[in-house]
Structures are given as C-alpha cells and as structure tokens.
C-alpha cells in the first residue's frame, strides 16, 4: 500500500508550480522526485512546490527536497517551497534546515514574485 498523493503541475510564466496533495513518505517520495524532474523544461526558471495541501512529509520526502534542490541548482533552476504559516510541517522543515536548500514562502504569490 503506497501513500496516496497527487501532483498537479501548472506553468505560471517562467515557473513551474507543482501542487502536492496528500501524504509523501518513503513509499512514494522517489516517485514524486522523478515526476517533478521530468515535468520541468529547460527554459523554466524555477520549480515551486506548493505544500499547502500536503498533510504529511517524512524524512524520505525531505531527502527528496534536498536532492531536487541540488539537481535543479546544477541546471541553474531554483526550487522554492510554499508552506503556510501554522502548517504542521513547519517545525520539521526547520529541524532539517530545508530552508537552506530551498527557500520557504508562506504563499504561492510570494514564491512566484521572486
């Protein structure tokens, strides 16, 4: 039984926005990474991962965020995260210092405005 998560990928100008809904853990994290990498064209400037409707991230999912940031960095593409204020994910992201690899914004608009 893998965890249910859906990804909706939308192009917003020069950025690709991936809305992640559901749970991401060790059973589906690698799949999430592969899907996101394959959905970013070379001309895109940034990948914005919207975690507003993401209910669960574990260390495997966080590992994927670091990995994505590294890979995109080599392609001179930025990775940004959207995590609303008060999200249960906040403390975990702080603990693992994800912000050092992918800046975290409270809203999608802020992330796209960069």
């Amino acid at each position: 039984m893998t965890s249910p998560a859906e990804i909706a990928v939308v192009r917003e100008g020069g950025a690709i926005v991936a809305h992640v809904t559901g749970d991401v853990d060790m059973t589906n994290a690698a799949h999430l990474r592969d899907e996101l990498l394959s959905s970013i064209p070379n001309d895109a400037l940034a990948l914005v991962i919207d975690l507003v409707r993401c209910r669960y991230l574990d260390s495997a999912a966080i590992e994927v965020l670091f990995d994505l940031a590294r890979r995109l960095g080599r392609r001179r593409q930025a990775l940004r995260l959207v995590v609303p204020k008060g999200s249960p994910l906040t403390r975990v992201l702080e603990l693992t210092e994800v912000g050092s690899a992918a800046p975290i914004f409270e809203t999608l608009d802020q992330a796209l405005a960069q």
């Binding site: 893998t2 249910p4 853990d25 060790m26 574990d58 260390s59 966080i62 249960p88």
Partner: protein, 677 residues
C-alpha cells in the same frame, strides 16, 4: 381264489389292522420318494392282497381326460397293461370318477348303473370295487379290485381302498410338481445357456450347483470346475476378501447380494463384473440362490478414469483455492477476525469461494466474501482474479457500490466470462458504521447484543450478470459488542430446505453466549453442517470490532514500507482521540514512523519480519516504543540521519537502545493540553 368273508369281530379288527399297516407302508414308500410307477404297482398288488380279490388295477386319466390308461394290472393277462379304457360313466371306472367315492358292485349281473369295462369283461370279472384317485376336478385316475366270483366288500374294505387311492393321489400330485419343476429347470437351463449373461445357482449352503454356458465361455472353465466353492478362485486376489465376506454375510441373512468385482476371463485377464444373486424359495423353503453376472469392464474402467480425472482436478482446484486464500488473515488493530474455508467433499466440485480483509488508507476495514459461479479449476482461477481486483478497488474506492460496479465492469468487458455473488463491506472500527453492497449474495448476519439480525439492504444482481446494472449500498451502525458474520451460500443452502429456513437456522445457531470468534466459527459450522462434508464450498468470515482502547495502541506489523501508511492512520486517530492538536498529532506520528522507517530499512533483508509499535497515554504524556530485531545505529544514509534528528527534535525524550539483538526506540512527549492544564 379264496373268498374271504369273516363275520367275527376279532377277525374284523385283525383285517382292519392289517389294512391300515398296508396303507401305512405304502405311505412310507411315497414319503421316501419312491417313483410314482413303483407306487402304483405296489398299490395294486397290496390292494388285491389285502382285499382278497383276483385282480387289481390302477388306471390313469389320459391328458385330455377322455380315456383311462391301465398303469397297473395285478392278476390280469399281460395284454391289459397299457390299454386305454373308456372314462365314460356308463362303465365302472368312469362311474367311480363321477361319484367321487368308492363304488362297489357285488355282481355285474344285477348292476344297472354301469357296465364292466372291456378288460373286466374279457377277464370274466363278476364283482368289483373302484375308488377315484385324487379330488374332483383334479383326478389322477381310478384304482379298482376285481373278483371272478360274487364278492362282498365291507365298509372297511371301501375305506382301505380309498386310503390307498389317497396315498397315490398325493404321490401323483408330487410327481406332477416334480415334473413341472424338471421342465422349468430344463427350460431355465436352456434359456440360461443361450442368454448373453452369466447365470448361476447355489444350494442352501451357498455352494454353486449350476453355471450357464455364458459363464463357462466367459471364464473359460469347465462346468465341474465351477461347482461348489471353487468359483471364487477366479476372483481377483484383491477382491477375494470382499467377495467372500459380502457373500457369506448375505447368504447367512438370506438377503439379496450384489457386488462389483474383477473376475478372471478365459484369456487370463481380469475384467469387472457386477454380480447379483437373490434367494430362491420353493414352497416357502429356502433352496439357495440364483444369480447373474454381467461384464461391466468398459463402463467400470471408464468410470475409474473419469473419477481419477475428476479427483485430480478437484485436488488441483482445492490447492489453487487454498493458495489464493489469505494464508492467515491480517492482524488489524482493534478488530478480531476469524475465517474458515471448507472445500466441498471429494466427489463434489471445488467452487470459487473466497474471503479477504484489508485495511484501507482511510482507516476503515474492507471485508469481502464472494462465490464465483461454476466449479473446478476455472472457478478457482477466476476467484483469484476477482480477489486481486477487490484488493485494488477496495483501496482506492470509498463506496462499496462503486467497488462492486468496477468489478462488474471488469468482468463484463473481460475476456473471461464470469459471474460471482459478492458481499463487500466497509467497517469503521471506531464508530461501528458499516457500508455494504450485496451483489446476489446471502445477507451478512449481525450478532448484536440484543440478538441476531441480517443486513438486508444494498441488494443487487450478481457481478457479471448484466451490464449496465445499478449497484446499491446500504449503511448501518453496529451496536458496540456486535459480531459480523459473512459467509457463502454453501453454509446455508441445501436443496431440500428453503433458504429462509436455513437462514433462520444459522441465526439460531449463532445465538448464545459470546465466545471468541474461532470458537464461534467452529460452533456455527458444527450446528449448521453437522458431521456431513459440505456438498458445496463454504467460506465463513467472522469480524468483531474490539471495544475501543482509547488510551493505548499495541501492534505488530510486517517490516515493509507499506505498513507505515496504516500505522500513520492509526496513530493519527489515536492521538486525535487522546486530545492532541493537529500539529502534535503530525509531529508525534512522524517521530514514531521515522523510528519505524529505520526498523524497516535497516533491520532486515527481504522476508517475513515484523516490528512492534506501542503507544500509550498516561497523565497527559505520550509514551511510544518501536522495537525491532536488527541494529540500525549506524547511519547508513543521510536521510536516516535526518530521521533520527527529526525524532530527537520532535520528542521530549528519546532513548535508542540495543536489546535482545534488536533496537528499541523509546520516546516521550507531553501534550500541550496537559501542559496547559
């Protein structure tokens, strides 16, 4: 020729005694089975002697009854024997037949009723007495004594002659029966010898007295070889004990005997015959058996081959069936589960019954019991496909009706034509809510604390029966302490009893004190099926939500990533129920699942291994333990290092220790609600 006439009483008595002795002697001879011809001669001679007459004769009615054949003629010239006299009543013999009693004529000169016969006339007979032999309508003939002088015949004399006639009558009657028997026996043997069956007869001891030509040519034996007890020598060695045993038993009881066994043929091969014998009675007396054997080798061997094929397919189907059913039901937190699967008796066909239970991502439990229409290998294989489809649809579809509808689509567009009755039910362990769809299946039984009842809703036609079909679902709430019984119709369907009555019987059998589900399953099967092996497959699944243990979780899970999803749901529910905030619930769940993730990734290679998770709330503090049987202290990957950092960062206290060759992670965290209080 002495004219014997005695007026004195002692003489009379002496004569009477002698006559009686003479009759008795004749009777003894008759009883001893003396031939009729000999008895007739003796009777004539004795009569002449005892009555003191010159001549005596015995006449037998000819077949058409119009003449009287002289069978014995004591004293007459040789030419008299074999003469046929008139049986008309104008002569003494015929008159005697009509009168039915002894007739006396002291002197033919004064006789007006009849004339002497030709033989009497020729011999110069003056006086005579004649008595009919046999009862009226069944006369054998006439016995007569003749004197050449006028002769007085006393009443005793008449009695004597009548007695002699009676002895002859009985002897003649018996002779007639024997003749008829000989004729029928001869007819039987003739028929038997030309009949295309193997016939035999035995005596009262069961020893063979006759076998027909059919038997001899089939077995290649001689008539003498088969007489007595030696016929069993041709029976196949493996069948001898059975043949002799059953034959002796039936013979002793004088009951009909029937058996199929192998018998040696004239070529030396053994072939199957069916042999039937029935007791034979004559005059109420048991005289032995008559029987017939028929060669059934082709039928029998074909039966054997078919049976072997059926049994082989039955066994394969049964094996396939078992391999497709869950080896053991999953352990589902908060749920007691028990299941039984009884394959149909050998000889009947294996059906496609199945059951399954799985935990859905939303924490509800999906239960299914189904029965593929049809039997044998194909049904068992179809069952496997449907079972897998249910596992897939059951996980992604919330609505039971939709799960069943999807299955129907799969079956109706599929290559394999299949039809199945299905009961699919989703149970919420916390609330007791059930949602179910019943596609042509018997209704599930709820054993509620206040008595049994069936869930009669959500009914539709079987899956695969039609397309499109409306599938329905119903919802109900089970009372706390209820048990749910799902089953296939093998448990309740018997041809001779209406389904309604069988359902009542099942409900009645389920009544009774609450017991563990294993015991309940055994009790139900025993009550409903008895000792009989079921003629159809039976699948039974019993489910009972355990009283919600709000303050603790204890679970053992397979060491595979997929276990985490269910564990997460369970922990999340538990923590919410314990009053944790959404953030606390996520963080504590994450910490425990990270520990579990380490156990899964590092503790084991592939294979059946488990890890244990315990969580309990006491005094506002959550304590959790994750225990495995491997060592994951070394940080084999960066994200596992992050995992431990997450655990340490999210929990108030964390202790990682090696214990019994495994790793134990103990964690504590005080809930905000408790801090505030």
């Amino acid at each position: 020729m002495a004219r014997r006439r005695s007026g004195s009483r002692p003489d009379q008595l002496r004569v009477r005694a002698r006559q009686q002795a003479a009759v008795a002697d004749l009777g003894q001879r008759a009883l001893a089975g003396a031939p009729l011809a000999e008895l007739i001669d003796t009777a004539a001679a004795t009569s002449a002697c005892e009555l003191g007459t010159d001549y005596a004769s015995v006449l037998e009615l000819t077949d058409e009854g119009s003449g009287l054949l002289v069978r014995a003629a004591t004293g007459f010239p040789p030419g008299a024997l074999g003469t046929v006299l008139s049986a008309e009543p104008d002569q003494l013999p015929g008159y005697a037949l009509r009168s039915n009693v002894a007739v006396v004529t002291p002197d033919f000169a004064g006789e007006e009723r009849f004339r002497p016969s030709e033989v009497q006339q020729a011999a110069g007979v003056v006086s005579a007495m004649a008595a009919p032999i046999g009862a009226r309508g069944r006369h054998f003939g006439v016995i007569a004594v003749h004197a050449l002088q006028p002769h007085h015949f006393s009443a005793d004399d008449a009695h004597f002659l009548t007695a002699v006639a009676n002895v002859l009558s009985a002897a003649a009657e018996r002779a007639r029966h024997e003749e008829a028997l000989r004729e029928s026996e001869a007819g039987f043997r003739e028929l038997a010898d030309t009949a295309p069956v193997m016939l035999w007869t035995t005596d009262t001891d069961g020893l063979v007295t006759f076998v027909n030509e059919g038997w001899l040519s089939w077995t290649g034996t001689r008539f003498e070889d088969e007489l007595g007890a030696s016929w069993t020598l041709g029976v196949h060695p493996d069948d001898q004990a059975l043949v002799l045993g059953s034959w002796d038993q039936r013979l002793a009881a004088r009951e009909p005997w029937e058996l199929e066994y192998r018998l040696c043929t004239h070529t030396g091969d053994y072939r199957w015959v069916v042999d039937r014998g029935v007791p034979r009675y004559e005059g109420g007396a048991f005289v032995g058996y008559v029987g017939a054997a028929v060669d059934i080798h082709e039928r029998k061997t074909m039966e054997g081959q078919l049976l072997a094929i059926y049994e082989r397919e039955h066994d394969i189907a049964a094996t396939l069936q078992r391999s497709l059913l869950p080896q053991r039901l999953p352990r589902i937190e908060g749920l007691e589960l028990a299941a039984r699967y009884l394959p149909a008796a050998r000889g009947a066909s294996i059906g496609g019954d199945w059951y399954d239970a799985l935990e859905r991502p939303d924490g509800r439990v999906a239960l299914v019991v189904g029965d593929v229409v049809g039997h044998g290998l194909r049904a068992a294989a179809t069952m496997g496909q449907l079972r897998n489809a249910f596992r897939a649809y059951g996980l992604v579809e919330d609505s039971p009706a939709e799960v069943v509808a999807r299955l129907n689509r799969l079956v109706t567009i599929g290559v394999e034509e299949a039809m199945a009755t299905v009961l699919y039910l989703v149970l919420d362990r916390e609330t007791g809510e059930v949602a179910y769809a019943c596609a042509g299946h018997p209704p599930p039984l709820v054993l509620a604390p206040d008595g049994p009842r069936f869930l009669e809703g959500g009914r539709s036609v079987p899956v695969g029966a039609a397309d499109p079909v409306v599938f329905r679902e119903s919802r109900e709430r089970l009372e706390p302490g209820s048990t749910l019984l799902l089953y296939t119709d093998g448990l309740v369907e018997r041809r001779d009893v209406p389904l309604g009555e069988r359902l009542d019987e099942l409900a009645e059998a389920a009544r009774g004190p609450e017991v563990d589900l294993e015991t309940l399953c055994d009790r139900l099967l025993a009550a409903v099926l008895g000792d009989a092996k079921p003629s159809d497959d039976v699948a039974l699944l019993a489910v009972r939500p355990l009283a919600a243990g709000a303050d603790q979780i204890s679970v053992s899970l397979p060491a595979e990533p997929e276990s985490l999803t269910g564990l997460r749901r369970r922990l999340s529910r538990f923590l919410h129920a314990a009053g944790a905030s959404e953030i606390e619930a996520y963080e504590i769940t994450l910490a425990i699942c990270e520990a579990a993730g380490n156990a899964i990734e590092h503790a084991y290679g592939p294979g059946d291994a488990t890890f244990d998770v315990e969580a309990a709330l006491a005094d506002g503090e959550l304590a959790a333990t994750v225990r495995d049987r491997g060592n994951w202290r070394e940080r084999r990957s960066e994200h596992r290092g992050r995992g431990l950092r997450i655990i340490e960062g999210l929990m108030d206290e964390v202790d990682v220790a090696s214990e019994d060759g495994g790793t134990v992670v103990k964690m504590r965290r005080r809930l905000e609600a408790a801090r505030a209080a």
